[in-house]
C-alpha cells in the first residue's frame, strides 16, 4: 500500500509539471504579455522596453524555468490588472471556492449515493424510476440557466434567499444546490449500476448464506465494492465542479477564484490566468490522487495491480 501510494504521488507530481509546462507555453504563445501589461494606450517604445525589462524576449524554456523557480518559492508574479502579487490575490479568495466545491461535492454525494442504493435495491420499482428521472433531468439542466431560474424563483418572486454575496451561509444555499445538482446524476447512476452488479454477485450470496443481517450485507459487503467506480468518477466530477464554479461564482457574485478566473480572462491578465489554470489542475490532480488512494484502500486488488505495472 505504501509503495502504491508513493508511486501514485510521484505520478501526480509528474502530471502537475507537464500541465504547468503546457499552460505556460500555450498562454505565452497566444498573448503578448508586454502588450497586455502596457495597456491599450502604450506606444511601441513602451512595449519594447517592457519586453526587455521583464525578459519576454528570452527563449521560452528559460522563461519557464524562471517562472517555475519563482513559483516554487511562492511567487507567481504580479497581476497586470490588480497590481498585486498573484499569490496574495489567490490566497484571499481560494477559501470561498474550496468551501463551495467541497460542500457541494459532499451534498451531492450524500444525496446521490443513498438514492443510487435505493434505486438498486428494487430495480424498476417506482423508486428506481423516480431516481432515474431526477438524474436525467438534472443532467439535462445547464447550470447557468438553472441558477438564473432559482434566482428568479427564490430571490425575486419569493424573496427567501439572497441572490448574491458571501456574507452568511444562507448566501451559499443556492450556489451549493446548483453545483451539487451538477455532480449528482453521474454519481447516482454509477452507484445504482455498481450496486446492481454487486448485489447479483456470488460473494453477496455467500454473505447472505452466513446469515448476516440485510443491512450488514448491503452496507458492509455490497456498498464497499460498489463505490469503487463512484470514487473515481467523483474526482472527475470535482473537475466539473471547478469549471462550474467559474459560472456559478460569476452569477451569484461570490468572489472566489472562479470569479477571479473570469475577471482575469476578460482583462487578459496573464500571470493570474496562468496561476489559476495551474491551481485548478493541481486541485484536479490532488482529487484524482485521493480517489486512487481511497480505491486502493477499498479494494485490495488495486494495490497489487499498482505494483505490478
Amino acid at each position: 500500500m505504501v509503495m502504491y501510494a508513493l508511486k501514485r504521488i510521484f505520478l501526480a507530481l509528474l502530471v502537475a509539471l507537464t500541465v504547468s509546462i503546457l499552460t505556460f507555453t500555450i498562454l505565452n504563445m497566444t498573448t503578448d504579455p508586454a502588450v497586455a501589461m502596457a495597456g491599450d494606450t502604450a506606444t511601441d517604445f513602451e512595449i519594447e522596453s517592457i519586453t526587455i525589462a521583464y525578459g519576454f524576449d528570452q527563449p521560452m524554456p528559460y522563461q519557464y524555468v524562471q517562472w517555475l523557480g519563482n513559483a516554487l518559492q511562492g511567487d507567481l508574479g504580479t497581476s497586470y490588472y490588480f497590481r498585486t502579487p498573484v499569490t496574495a490575490l489567490i490566497s484571499g479568495r481560494i477559501s470561498i471556492t474550496l468551501w463551495l466545491g467541497l460542500v457541494s461535492m459532499a451534498v451531492g454525494i450524500l444525496i446521490a449515493v443513498p438514492l443510487g442504493v435505493i434505486a438498486a435495491i428494487r430495480p424498476n420499482s417506482i423508486w428506481d424510476r423516480i431516481c432515474l428521472t431526477l438524474a436525467v433531468s438534472a443532467q439535462a439542466l445547464p447550470s447557468f440557466w438553472f441558477a438564473l431560474m432559482l434566482i428568479v424563483l427564490l430571490s425575486v418572486t419569493f424573496p427567501i434567499l439572497p441572490s448574491s454575496g458571501t456574507d452568511t451561509w444562507v448566501h451559499f444555499i443556492m450556489p451549493v444546490f446548483v453545483l451539487a445538482t451538477r455532480v449528482m446524476p453521474a454519481i447516482m447512476r454509477l452507484t445504482r449500476t455498481g450496486m446492481l452488479d454487486v448485489l447479483a454477485s456470488d460473494y453477496i450470496r455467500t454473505a447472505r448464506a452466513k446469515g448476516l443481517k440485510p443491512q450488514n450485507v448491503l452496507f458492509k459487503h455490497a456498498l464497499r465494492n460498489a463505490v469503487v467506480p463512484v470514487v473515481s468518477v467523483s474526482s472527475v466530477q470535482l473537475g466539473h465542479l471547478l469549471t462550474g464554479s467559474i459560472v456559478i461564482e460569476t452569477i451569484f457574485a461570490l468572489h472566489g477564484v472562479g470569479f477571479l478566473a473570469y475577471e482575469s480572462t476578460v482583462r487578459n491578465d496573464l500571470p493570474t490566468m496562468q496561476a489559476l489554470v495551474l491551481l485548478f489542475s493541481c486541485i484536479f490532480i490532488i482529487a484524482t490522487l485521493v480517489a486512487d488512494l481511497a480505491n486502493a484502500w477499498l479494494d485490495p486488488r488495486i494495490r497489487v495491480v499498482g505494483i505490478d505495472n
Partner: protein, 337 residues
Amino acid sequence: MKPLDCLEIKNLTVTFPLSAGTLWAVNDVSFTLARGETLGIVGESGCGKSMTAMAIMNLLPQAAQLQATGLTFNGQELTALNESEMSDIRGNRMAMIFQEPMTSLNPAFTVGAQLMEAILRHRKVKKSEARERALYLLEKVGITAAASRLRQYPHELSGGLRQRVMIAMALMCSPDLIIADEPTTALDVTIQAQILHLLTEIQREFEMTVIMITHDLGVVANVTDRVAVMYAGRIVETGLVSQLFESPQHPYTQKLLDCIPVPGKTKRGSYLGSIPGRVPSLIGDLSGCSFANRCSFCTDECLNNDPPWHQIGSQRGYLCWRNPEQISPYKGQGVSL
C-alpha cells in the same frame, strides 16, 4: 418426520415467471435426510440441483417462486419463518459451499474477517475466540501457515485454497446440515479429489448431515450413502448408492451409468459421456414424461400422462410408467464399486 430426521422436503416446487411462460426449475421434489446421512443429488446441468439447494437455504433469486407442502429442518417448518428468523439459521445450523470458489469470497475483506463473521453473528464470542476457531478450522481443512492466511485477501489464494476457505467458513458454527453444491466442478482434477476427500473426512469427524450436489456419478459412489437422480426439475430415481449402481430402474439412471468409463471394459477411444438427445424445455405445460424424447422405452402413455412414482421398500423409488416387473435386470457395463 422421524425425530432423528434432519431435513424433510415435501413437494418442493420452484418456478420462474417468464414472459414465455412459467419455468419449472424444480418440480415436485420430496426427500428426507436422516441425521448424519449423506445424500448425493445427481443430474446434468440445468436440472434444478442448485435451485433445490437455494430453496432450502432460502437464497433463491428474487424472481423465483417457491411452493412446498413442507420444508422441515430440525423439526422446524422453514416456510413459516420470516427472513430474519431464517437468517438466524443460515450459516448457523445449516451452511452451504458453492459451485464458484473463485467469486464466492468478497474481494474487499481478508480471509480472516470473512471467516470470523459467521460466528460473530451467531454466537456470543470474543473476537479472539472467533480467531482461534478460524485458525483451528483452516488447519482442519488442510491449509498450512493458517495464521498468515487469515491476513490474506481472496485474490492472493488459488481456487483450491479458496474452496478450502469456503469449507472452513461453512464449518464455523458447526452446522447440522451442509449443502455442497458441486464443490469441485471449478477446480483442477487433482484438487477435486483432495477436496472430496476432505469433505468426507470432515463429515465423519463432525457427524454432519450432508447434501452433495454433483453431476458426476463417480463422486456419488465414493462419498455418499444415498442418491437422488434429478432430471428436468424432478427426482426420477432415489436409492442407496449400492442399489442404484447395481439395479438402476429408471432409463435415465441406466444411461447415466453407461456413461461412466470402466477400466478394462471401456474401449480406448470409444465414445463416452453423453446421452443422445436434449433436455426438453422447462417452460410452460410439461405433461407427460420429461425423459420421453430420449427414452428407448417410450410409449404413448409416456407422452401424454405424468409417470407414477414406484416406491420399492423404504429407501428406493423411481418415476416411470414401467412397472418393476417390466424392467429387465441392468446389464450395463457392470460398474463395480
